[in-house]
Symmetry: C2
Subunit: 456 residues, 2 copies
Amino acid sequence: MHQNSPALLAALRPQFGDRLLTSQAAREHHGKGESHLAPALPDAVIMAKTTQEVSDVLQACTKHGVPVIPFGAGSSLEGQIHAPHGGISLDLSAMNRILAVRDADMDCTVECGVTRQDLNEHLRATGLFFPIDLGAHATLGGMAATRASGTTTVRYGSMRDLVLGLTVVLPDGDIIKTGGRARKSSAGYDLTHLLVGSEGTLGIMTELTVRLVGIPEATQTAMCSFASIQEATETVVMALQCGLSLNRIELADTLPMQAINRYSKTDLPECPTLWVEMAGATATVENDMDTFAGLAETALKIDRAQSNEDASRIWKIRHDALFASRALRPGIKGISTDVCVPISQLPSCIARIQEVIATTSIQAPLIGHVGDGNFHLVLLYDPSDQDELREAQHINSSLVTMAIEMGGTCTGEHGVGLGKKAYLPAEHGPALNVMRRIKRALDPDNIMNPGKIFDL
Amino acid sequence: MHQNSPALLAALRPQFGDRLLTSQAAREHHGKGESHLAPALPDAVIMAKTTQEVSDVLQACTKHGVPVIPFGAGSSLEGQIHAPHGGISLDLSAMNRILAVRDADMDCTVECGVTRQDLNEHLRATGLFFPIDLGAHATLGGMAATRASGTTTVRYGSMRDLVLGLTVVLPDGDIIKTGGRARKSSAGYDLTHLLVGSEGTLGIMTELTVRLVGIPEATQTAMCSFASIQEATETVVMALQCGLSLNRIELADTLPMQAINRYSKTDLPECPTLWVEMAGATATVENDMDTFAGLAETALKIDRAQSNEDASRIWKIRHDALFASRALRPGIKGISTDVCVPISQLPSCIARIQEVIATTSIQAPLIGHVGDGNFHLVLLYDPSDQDELREAQHINSSLVTMAIEMGGTCTGEHGVGLGKKAYLPAEHGPALNVMRRIKRALDPDNIMNPGKIFDL
């Protein structure tokens, strides 16, 4: 427990009553998330309902010098919600009001605890949707904090591209608004983008204004099998250069396809596979899928969906890939790597890491957002086995080193948290010190999610 | 002259020789730009050729406490290159090498002094291009510094969306790299976006890695006349919601159309006019222009280009709009407003400012990037006439106040410089102090383009 937590909790208890939790269960729920890292529990959990309450908590934390860690859905993968120095987990999941939807402007303003699923349910009648499609049931605040993305980023961009403005509470309790609702602005420093991806280390985003997009008139789906990753990615490069109306373009290598056949009792080709979705006007998607099929001349097989049900069948295969891969080693959850490289480097990056994997005993199925150059290896190892742990760490660090050498990044969409801190000096060099200077300027007492992204 | 400039110049002259200029002509060329503001000359001009030379100059400026102002093409509109506190204008136009073009990754790395025209000329054989299309013959460094955009932003975004990574020299001479070549990353603070739009107040960008896009297979152009701005913008909103393959969608109100008829001896309808360009696959643009024509049911006339030459004719009318508007009052250059509002607010914003204009003697033709909600009024006033000056200032400040109330911004693409500083407190509120804290953290001696964007 942080030495000043008892005084802080005594000060906050009158205001928050039974929304200030210190039970072991609450602390455990808030100190682990979906991370592979050992839990690190906060001293207490506070359930905030308003921006003003967040401000009150931050003022108190500053006064007492106690760390505060924002918490949304608890779906972060790299220890972003861990409390290695104790302190308060500030649970924002009850801040889940959709404040405004503006059809004509194709934007909306929501509280940080709204999930993307809730938002899209709310938008159903508007013909609009919020396009970030990731695996987790995450909150928009958490997605912004980690600069999340997913399968549709090739078309719509990541949280970086979709957040227009924020309400942010600073460590001293000041409430600021960044950005706005204009589609572009040249009015001063881009604080919105500075906050997006800052993982709660500079301030807490309590409201977000995000772009929405129109639901496309039509989609067309196909699944294509290739003899090699190289041929699959070459096809993707050509499709990107042609400006086809790609909505999703996903990749799996041979091992997940074997896993899927075993898991789902299917008979799919066990070779590198692309899932492709075009979206747009009916004429466009027909035309673009024809073009794609022409570009994919090296494909062994193209399975083009003939109906919406057929498209669902094809996407279910993709969605099953993670579960099927984990089922290769029952009882082992595995951890996911997250490098992202320039797409031209993808074949050699994958080939080189597969050579490394072959020198170990680890199974590592590969699934990726290939249009972005981002892929995940699910490292199926037993963390209690020191040899396997060492091998998994070797694969992970080899991969990150390789990706950075290729002009890429250690994390395309999961964020840094505690899990990827070690790689940031190699990726950013002296720019990391600029990040530290900004952190010190905005959070001089280092109470905002301390120890995440980098050490001071 | 800054009191420490003589000592600084003595220290730098041996290194830079005849690339250190103190002539009146050089100082005047570097102290005005395209701005309507009175010139403010630097004490000297240094022509840099390398990132290391920029670092040397910045170290010397820090040592002597002398301001340094980056200079590209001198096309800034709001006094960004002015030297109100004297010091050095660091001319980067000779840093104009294209360092790498990577077709497969659809990106390139250039020195900051490369112009967009030079870059696109260089890219001609690749099938790719750099899509920001603005009026000026600007450098990419300058465009990034002001977060520039233009006619194609509705499709490709602004400099904010297209810069992937930077090489930046900090005031102490440190050279950092921000971002990278991956299409997305969640690895720490987004320094790239912090620098883009910082107008040389935090550091100097010497190299940029930017996204390129494929040249579309086909384009389709049309010009549509409407009885009212309202009907024109409603059509635009519908087109945006349908996700049509809009490449450009530009607006002029009645006055520029009258000006064009007078200037070009044409007989165009003198009413609010949209220029529309679709781009994509041939089938897509045909289909989408048909859809657009259906949506534009309130249009009085749709002039759809029948050939490439015909499309050029239509776009020439749009390009002539600024010159024709200026010709309404020969000898008067006019100044350009630059608000950007949520598109739903555009009709009322325009209607309300036209009421204000009607109370003055000023002619103010309107031309806009309507897909972004960004429009320019060309205020045709004589700055030496105090009454006209007062009226023009009244229009400008009324417009900015209105835009900010509507959730918009005082500047969509021109930047703040000296000219729009007064509006930033209203637009950003307490967030402006966060910008100041970042400025102090990164430029503690306030040598980087001091006095721009905000005062400390």
